[in-house]
């Protein structure tokens, strides 16, 4: 078994597989295991899984300790060069300082996480001086290397990462932090709005974006502009905001390019691979878990997909029966995205799905319908909003009866 990626999801999958008696090798490109959590030093991880709020490193260490106890083989500073998928055996070629690693395995779990969207992927004009960062990069600089990026900081994006970085920079001695975002209100969790922004009186400007970055060698400031509800800039509202650092926190995108190159089907909504109910991609015996599948709000949920994939690997290796035709699972009009994409195995546990709504609604019915529009299941969610990834369980026998399943908010 090869697990690619030693972040929380990769570690969780490895631990589960090793516990089931499989021989697992983890390949990690960083110098240590733990993934992005090692730089997320704030608390709040694990509230669903352990009913307790840990810091990122503490949460990761729970799994790292387990990897060490079980003596799971792992390589750090190791990059995967190519993956070949044969009919039953798969070959992974990886590189590290010691040389070339050729691993033959029967199943692969991809846990390569996501990457940050860059300022180049959203429309930002102006120059490209020093002092422009992404939020994750700043988090790493500050929390791991002890380097502050500047004195007067502008943060672009009102998501969780942006807010957490804003608080941290202020506490660590940055003179001034301002947050701008195009939405009417912060896109992140309410707890972060309170504990990161309001607690410290950090100034913020909703319905505002950066039109231009100004500065030759180093950032001198940014031209800010107000936007309307469609995020269209309103002419004449431009103001110059002086600062020496601009940090973009404008979204995360699954790292699925390697799977795509291998021929795995990609969902244009999630930008991650298409998976079945045990998080197996369209390539048999190749699984995908965590933020690679879709960007999760809670690491606890990401870890759950890893546990499910470990069960899937077992089903695959034991040659359990699949359906003649998989049952497609798809999001309706009011859902922005949903995983998994199909129910493929003949038997198994109830289907665990995650979806993001495209509307904000209180006391919202989530309804699953079969191919002909007949209702097969409904459940009430107290509150749905686009920024929250919701978890849903659908009884397997309900899926069995439907030719296809469409889930929607009502």
């Amino acid at each position: 078994m090869v697990v690619i990626g030693g972040g929380p999801s990769g570690l969780a999958a490895s631990v589960k597989l090793e516990e089931k008696g499989y021989d697992v090798t983890i390949l990690e490109s960083e110098r240590e295991l733990g993934g992005i959590l090692m730089q997320c030093i704030h608390d709040g991880f694990g509230t669903k899984l352990f009913n307790e709020a840990f810091s990122g490193p503490e949460f990761a260490c729970k799994f790292i300790d387990r990897v060490r106890d079980l003596d799971v083989e792992y390589f750090t500073n190791t990059f995967v060069k190519s993956v070949k998928v044969g009919s039953s055996l798969k070959e992974v070629v990886a590189l590290n300082r010691q040389g070339v690693l050729k691993l033959s395995c029967r199943a692969i779990v991809f846990a390569t996480g996501c990457r940050e969207r860059t300022p180049f992927e959203i429309k930002v004009g102006g120059t490209r001086p020093a002092g422009v960062y992404t939020a994750g990069m700043v988090q790493r600089l500050v929390n791991v290397y002890g380097v502050l990026p500047g004195k007067k900081v502008l943060i672009v994006g009102g998501g969780d990462v942006g807010m957490i970085v804003a608080r941290h920079l202020l506490l660590e001695g940055v003179e001034e932090v301002t947050i701008v975002f195009p939405e009417a209100w912060f896109a992140g969790l309410a707890r972060n709005v309170q504990q990161c922004v309001l607690d410290f009186g950090i100034p913020f400007k909703p319905r505002t974006v950066v039109k231009e970055i100004v500065g030759k060698e180093r950032v001198d400031g940014a031209v800010l502009v107000n936007v309307d509800e469609q995020w269209k800039p309103i002419e004449g509202t431009e103001v110059f905001h002086p600062c020496d650092t601009i940090i973009f926190s404008v979204g995360l995108i699954p790292n699925s390019s390697q799977l795509e190159e291998m021929g795995a089907e990609i969902d244009p909504r999630t930008r991650g691979p298409v998976v079945n109910e045990y998080f197996e991609t369209s390539l048999k015996g190749v699984f995908a878990v965590g933020n690679l599948v879709t960007v999760f709000d809670y690491v606890d949920d990401a870890v759950e997909t890893a546990f499910l994939a470990a069960e899937g690997v077992e089903k695959y290796l034991q040659g359990e029966e699949r359906r003649e035709k998989p049952t497609p699972l798809s999001p309706g009009k009011y859902l922005r995205l949903m995983v998994p994409h199909r129910v493929e195995w003949a038997d198994g546990r109830d289907v665990v799905a995650f979806f993001r709504s495209s509307v904000e609604k209180e006391n919202c019915w989530i309804v699953a319908k079969d191919g002909s529009g007949g209702e097969i299941f409904r459940t009430l969610k107290r509150y749905v909003r686009p920024t929250l990834l919701e978890r849903l369980e659908i009884h397997r026998d309900l899926v069995d009866k439907a030719g296809r399943v469409v889930v929607d908010a009502e």
Partner: protein, 122 residues
């Protein structure tokens, strides 16, 4: 006096208005459920926070060691806690949970290491 609290008990994020006089709460408005009411009152009467930051670490593969308060401290002590840790330097190896500073900023709360750091070189 009146304070507005964003409730964090569920994703809805109710804005709860808590009025109080001389330390006792006189009215609570805008909460969606009883859990939210309880949270909002606690937030106004005695708000508490876990503080996470980093301290300098020597002989380790990285320059900073992440640390946090072992328990929440009063919200108005957050900055003092960070300040008290600004000059602290430790040496690897460090074990997760190890106490880095006792009774930080007079809060009677300890600051602990969030991770193991093995020593590397000199």
């Amino acid at each position: 006096m009146q304070s507005e609290v964003i409730c964090v008990r569920c994703p809805k994020g109710c804005k709860v208005k808590v009025a109080f006089e001389g330390g006792s709460v006189t009215s609570v408005e805008g909460y969606g459920c009883l859990l939210g009411r309880e949270y909002a009152v606690q937030e106004v009467v005695n708000p508490q926070r876990i503080v996470s930051t980093t301290v300098r670490v020597l002989k380790a593969p990285y320059q900073r060691l992440p640390v946090r308060t072992s328990r929440p401290v009063p919200k108005d002590k957050v900055r003092e806690v960070v300040k008290a840790l600004a000059g602290v330097t430790v040496e690897a190896p460090v074990k997760r949970g190890e106490v880095i500073v006792k009774n930080v900023a007079g809060t009677s709360v300890d600051v602990i290491a969030e991770r193991d750091l093995e020593s590397e070189g000199g």
